[in-house]
């Protein structure tokens, strides 16, 4: 089975890309929400909210990574596993940015029905784009280099996100056990 998965040295940068987007999205929205929380929540309660959030971020980023690894396992190696650092990062970026855009474009309660109706075409286009980008990324030097450098530099954030999430896990466990 391990032969069908990429090496850890390639998995880590891809996870860094996923984590950066997932945690970054939450952190941006924390800053948007914080002034309101400060109006009526105590510091400990805000820390609890952040703990649940970062713990969920850890879970969802791992789920996305596991999904990509699952694809590696299923697909022929030349499509994703080979050069996983570049292809995986490209695929993760397309999928996560697509989610962001989908939420953003339909961020109106009058568009809830339209949001549901748009699911198939939206994801059809997204997957097509993803396929093109994954194919193109490995063949285009500047894009390949860009993705490698980006994912490599984002690894540093894991030194913040992972410990933060583990502390969050402890806080959530304590709050729900006592």
């Amino acid at each position: 089975m391990r032969n069908r998965l990429p090496p850890l040295t390639q998995i880590l940068p891809v996870y860094a890309v996923i984590a950066f987007v997932v945690y970054g999205w939450t952190i941006i929205l924390v800053f948007w929400k914080l002034p309101s929380w400060l109006f009526f929540l105590h510091g400990g309660e805000i820390v609890a909210i952040l703990s649940y959030s970062f713990l969920l971020n850890l879970l969802e980023s791992l789920i996305v990574l596991i999904g990509l690894l699952g694809l590696c396992w299923l697909l022929p190696a030349r499509l994703l596993r080979d050069d996983f650092n570049v292809r995986g990062a490209a695929l993760a970026l397309v999928l996560l940015v697509s989610i962001m855009l989908h939420l953003w474009v339909y961020n109106n309660s009058d568009l809830r029905e339209a949001f549901i109706r748009s699911l198939l075409p939206w994801w059809g286009v997204t997957l097509a784009l993803a396929a093109v980008l994954v194919w193109w990324a490995s063949r285009t030097a500047w894009l390949r280099r860009g993705l490698l450098e980006l994912s490599d530099r984002l690894v540093v954030f894991l030194y913040i996100f992972v410990p933060m999430s583990l502390i969050s896990l402890v806080i959530v466990i304590i709050r729900n056990l006592t």
């Binding site: 987007v21 997932v22 999205w25 939450t26 929205l29 924390v30 929400k33 309101s36 929380w37 400060l38 109006f39 009526f40 929540l41 105590h42 309660e45 609890a48 909210i49 649940y52 959030s53 969920l56 971020n57 879970l59 969802e60 980023s61 789920i63 996305v64 996560l96 989610i99 962001m100 989908h102 939420l103 953003w104 339909y106 961020n107 109106n108 309660s109 568009l111 809830r112 029905e113 949001f115 549901i116 699911l119 709050r175 729900n176 006592t178």
Partner: protein, 519 residues
């Protein structure tokens, strides 16, 4: 009003357990002696209909026949004709009812706000004590959050989705230790639905897809009998029908009556007639073309921007929904009475706030503090009561908690800002000041700077708008006995009554802010 100083506040918190007695000088010969004092504790049921304005109930003289069943119920109840909510939307209104404190004291005046943690013990569940089996079902997530804050004092707390037909899967009851916070974590943040972005990118997105897909059917008018779609908790995308919810409430009361070894206190907070208005088909032709037009009221500078035609249309469907709720209420009462479940039971019908359809404004929680949004129904039916009693003196929903304590023979902690309701064994205090506070723009931990406050004294009502852009300090004064529609603003700087009311209000405002001023 009794705004609390820091010292008073500490005494108040201590009194929650020590039980300092309210002076009983105001006691009148009780029309309905409390069962508590007779020796056998009665059951208590609160049926709260969200956003039900007394101004739209035929029970209170509304020209449209919206509430024949409530009127029937009123024939054996005490009916309060000038009853206010202390807030103009769910959080402050419900928090005041459950604590007996005004919003500027309990400080739950933001959307989803919580009671001052130091005052948590001062709640109806705690003060009734564990002689009662204390039960909560709230469809409204904001009041569910408040009940969750009192979690240690509640014996059974149903999830808001208990009788829904589908939609969002809430996590509120999955985290019992953090139930009060879980709304802030999940529904209001990580899994927020449009028009807000979920803070969890993947989980929030999947939740949006899952819950919106599930309720798509219910929203589309395909549910039998619901041409506008099934009723919906719009912010959280939870569909329900009133038939199912009321049947659930009836079943729960029957269960409590049959199974509870203790007398029970059951608080039901039902969502209808909250918007979006989606009455059952049986009611959608009611009042159509009846020619009713409310008196014209000019647009208020602090109001929204709804056209009069739009407001008239919304009012029509709201009135239909009230008639729908009233019919379900009638069925519920018939079921309970037939089963004998209301013996030795107080039944209280009320709301958390009203709903506005005037001056360019629609809904609740806006800047306006007119009667449509403050005047709520209150009917209290005592065990065995067989005649109607009407009470016209102004009362507030902060009075409900001390009333229940009084009726069950419990001590009323000093510092509670409400007082036992007249008509149930206590004399009315005609010159008492009553307040309603709307202050969502302020910190819960600092003096109030901006907001709208209504103050009632006898027939007169002062509305103060403070800190708004362009309206630094604005006042309106109405005589509600002579001008119930608030058409004739009497406030004038040179007028003695205006000056007196304003100074009484400013003194109360200052006193309310006192505990939050820096030393």
């Amino acid at each position: 009003m009794d705004g609390l100083s820091r010292r008073d506040f500490l005494k108040l918190a201590a009194a929650a357990s020590a039980g300092a007695l309210l002076p009983r000088a105001l006691v009148e010969a009780a029309a309905y002696p409390s069962a508590g004092r007779r020796g056998g504790l009665p059951n208590i049921i609160i049926l709260l209909f969200d956003s039900m304005s007394a101004r739209h109930l035929s029970l209170y003289g509304y020209p449209r026949e919206t509430t024949p069943h409530l009127s029937r119920f009123a024939e054996r109840a005490t009916v309060y004709h000038a009853h206010w909510s202390a807030g103009n939307y769910t959080t402050p209104g419900t928090a005041s009812m459950l604590t007996g404190l005004y919003p500027w004291t309990h400080r739950a005046f933001q959307f989803g706000g919580l009671i001052r943690r130091e005052l948590e013990a001062l709640n109806i569940f705690s003060l009734l004590g564990d002689e009662y089996y204390r039960y909560v079902f709230s469809q409204n997530l904001l009041s569910d959050v408040l009940a969750a804050q009192f979690g240690a004092d509640v014996d059974e707390h149903l999830p808001p989705t208990a009788f829904s037909i589908g939609g969002n899967d809430l996590l509120m009851d999955k985290l019992p230790n953090d139930r009060a916070l879980s709304w802030h974590v999940f529904q209001d943040f990580l899994f927020a639905l449009s028009p807000y972005l979920p803070a969890s990118l993947v989980g929030g997105y999947l939740n949006s897809v899952n819950s919106l897909r599930k309720t798509s059917y219910y929203r589309a008018g395909k549910v039998p009998g619901h041409p506008y779609g099934a009723p919906l908790l719009a912010n959280y995308n939870i569909s329900y029908t009133n038939e199912r919810v009321f049947a659930g409430v009836a079943a729960e009361i029957l269960r409590l009556s049959a199974e509870s070894s203790r007398p029970y206190f059951a608080y039901f907070h039902l969502y209808s007639p909250h918007e979006p208005y989606k009455p059952h088909r049986r009611f959608t032709s009611l009042f159509v073309g009846d020619g009713y037009r409310p008196p014209f009221k000019p647009h208020h500078p602090l109001a929204g921007n709804f056209s009069d035609d739009d407001l008239l249309h919304k009012r029509l469907i709201y009135d239909q929904l009230i008639a729908n709720v009233d019919a379900e209420f009638g069925k519920l009462m018939d079921t309970l009475e037939t089963a004998g479940a209301l013996e030795n039971t107080w039944v209280i019908v009320t709301s958390d706030h009203g709903q506005l359809f005037e001056r360019g404004d629609h809904g609740h929680g806006t800047n306006l503090m007119n009667e449509g949004v403050l005047h709520i129904p209150l009917l209290i039916s005592a065990p065995g009561q067989d005649r109607r009693q009407d009470v016209s003196v102004p009362t507030s929903n902060v009075d409900l908690l001390p009333t229940l304590l009084w009726l069950t023979g419990r001590e009323i902690p000093s510092g509670i800002e409400g007082q036992p309701l007249p008509g149930l064994g206590v004399l009315a205090e005609s010159e008492r000041l009553i307040f309603a506070v709307q202050a969502p723009y302020n910190s819960a931990f600092a003096p109030l700077k901006k907001g709208s406050v209504a103050m009632r004294k006898g027939a007169y009502k002062l509305i103060a708008y403070l800190g708004y852009a362009g309206v630094e300090q604005g006042f309106e004064l109405y005589n509600l006995d002579e001008d119930p529609e608030e058409l004739n603003d009497l406030f004038a700087d040179g007028d003695l009554l205006s000056r007196q009311m304003r100074s009484e209000f400013l003194a109360a405002w200052q006193q309310a802010n006192q505990p939050f001023l820096l030393p």
